[in-house]
Subunit: 342 residues, 2 copies
DNA sequence: TTGAAAGCGCTACCAA
DNA sequence: TTGGTAGCGCTTTCAA
């Protein structure tokens, strides 16, 4: 075991070469007051000559900061692949992190238990200064674990009453619009294929659909669970389309389920949107590539990531950031919605 | 700025409480010899009572290790979303990293320049002990940057002669099989939609296609560039299908381009696979969800990630790991290939 | 087997 | 404005 480290210039080297004290070098290099302009310049020049880059390790130990934040993705590998949220969200996080000298420590957990475990380990080893909490569950155990540890955290689309600062993007309005659009097209039997049970966003979408249905004076009772997977969408189609009074339109809680639903419906001999209208949620790019193109709800995971990171950094800096609400999701009208068959 | 750090138990606390020297505590906690069984047990017990978790920061500074490795993903955000490699590869990396106490520092770079820049910063700030090099270009400038810094790195599917240890998955054999399958179906005019210029994997797939064509005594001259994007696939279809002697089969260097190609072909009134056969590369799950289902080549990014991380950790440990070759990619036969039209 | 202490690279406090 | 120095939490060397 030989950590092959090239010898980097340290602040001591800079101070020596510049003929100043280490503390002066530190102050100069960090734009802290208390150094005369001339020595400051000299120190800077020497640092540049030496190719000095501060060691995050030394700084970390002395400032008690990791300069790194954590994100534990809790998602099945299979789902992960087709998931649009992931990449864009991380991209957004990075937009904020990078200019602030922070790095992202990413972990992938296959299950909720290991997700909690990973989160705890990141915190206990003081690898990170804070974490992102997405895919929040009802009574999510991570919340308590984080609170006992006093680790800064920011929630992505949590429910009201969430104990940490939150960043939210409303999708209820878009879901209302979508349902209304269906109603305007003459649909009365509108079903919902909901996501995985006990996730907050599953409930949020379900509730929005219910509200929209009730606004339209329509009964909101046809709901089946699809678990956010393609296969779940297939099964949902099997269950919903075998009914005597089958729905004429379906709102799926994500695009992957909508894909499964559409394919199964087609296999069952139904044509979309002539026999049945389908809409998804997420606005994944693949929705644009399939035929008919999938009507969906477009969210902005990138902005969510960017803002979450901003809030998290503020929190880490000891501020008390307010919750952030980014512009709401919008309906992405494409071809999978049509007039209700008569 | 108040780094809200709960006071964690340190090794000093453990040593004090156990009534031993710090060095003994360290030895006991790290399974190093030189501590009697009884004191070792006592120290362990105290550590457990105190909920002691070693601070990675302190350890990092003293061992000159970050216990973290870096991965800079250089990909367009739009492409990233539909990219199957990303998530699975990271998942694989994690499988190796986690049990070894390492974390992954992930960065997303929009361009090649910023990718290099990020890589350099990670290295210079000593945030990571090594990095993964994927999406390698011909004469990739990152290689030189890494070498000057003496930072351990492992290449993912690099060309022969790559200066760092490498992990590879052969796809030439599968491409040969695929082309042969096309030939067996009666195709003679088989085109290739290649990926983005100057990427090693673009060249590798192109070369494999050329070889396969020449093995079949067929001219390998119909090639258009598609840049690995959906739109590139669309443009390729426009160019290839407007020819007087249009190809009857097309091998696209990734699935996304194949999707674009298929959709455009359909728009032009061609039916797949009756009028034209299409195959992709990657085996993305969406290929299963579209109609006709896309024939492709299945790679194993997860295994690639797992092995790469293993090699990288060995390298960091000062060993001299040999290159690794994981089982080759395979043809994923689905529905987008059919007999040549006559 | 045990303990004391130096040192990793940096920040920050206190004197000069 | 400068310099000296303690200390962050750990590993590791060297004495006892």
């Amino acid at each position: 075991m030989s950590p092959q480290e090239r010898t980097h210039a340290t602040i001591v080297d800079v101070a020596n070469r510049a003929g100043v004290a280490i503390s002066s070098a530190s102050a100069a290099l960090n734009d802290r007051p208390g150094v005369s302009p001339s020595t400051r310049d000299r120190i800077r020049k020497v640092a540049a000559e030496l190719g000095y880059v501060p060691s995050i390790r030394g700084r970390s130990l002395s400032t008690k900061r990791a300069f790194s934040v954590g994100f534990v993705v809790e998602r099945d590998f299979a789902v992960l692949e087709a998931d649009p949220f992931f990449g864009a969200f991380i991209g957004g996080i990075e937009e904020t992190l990078e200019p602030n000298g922070y790095a992202l420590s990413l972990q992938i957990a296959g299950s909720a238990e290991s997700s909690l475990d990973r989160q705890v380990k990141l915190a206990d080893a003081r690898r990170v200064d804070g974490v992102f909490l997405s895919e929040i569950r009802i009574d999510d155990p991570r919340i308590e674990a984080l609170r006992t540890r006093g680790l800064p955290a920011v929630g992505i689309n949590p429910d009201a009453g969430f104990p940490f600062p939150a960043v939210r993007q409303d999708s209820a309005v878009a879901i209302h619009e979508l349902v209304q659009e269906m109603v305007d097209l003459g649909h009365r039997r509108i079903a919902h294929v909901m996501g995985r049970e006990s996730y907050v966003h599953t409930e949020q979408r379900l509730a929005a659909w219910r509200d929209a249905m009730s606004s339209a004076k329509l009964p909101a009772k046809t709901v089946v669970e699809g678990g956010f997977t393609y296969e779940g969408g297939v099964r949902a189609a099997d269950r919903l389309l075998s009914r005597k009074q089958r729905p004429t339109a379906v709102f799926c809680a994500n695009d992957l389920m909508a894909l499964g639903f559409m394919n199964r419906a087609a296999e069952l001999g139904l044509s979309i949107p002539d026999d049945i209208s389908v809409a998804g949620f997420d606005g994944i790019s693949v929705g644009e590539y399939i035929r008919p193109r999938l009507t969906s709800i477009r969210t902005d995971p990138r902005a969510l990531g960017r803002e979450s990171a901003r809030v998290l950094l503020e929190l880490i800096d000891g501020e008390a950031p307010a919750d952030v609400e980014i512009p709401p999701a919008t309906v992405l009208s494409r071809d999978s919605l049509g007039p209700a068959p008569r």
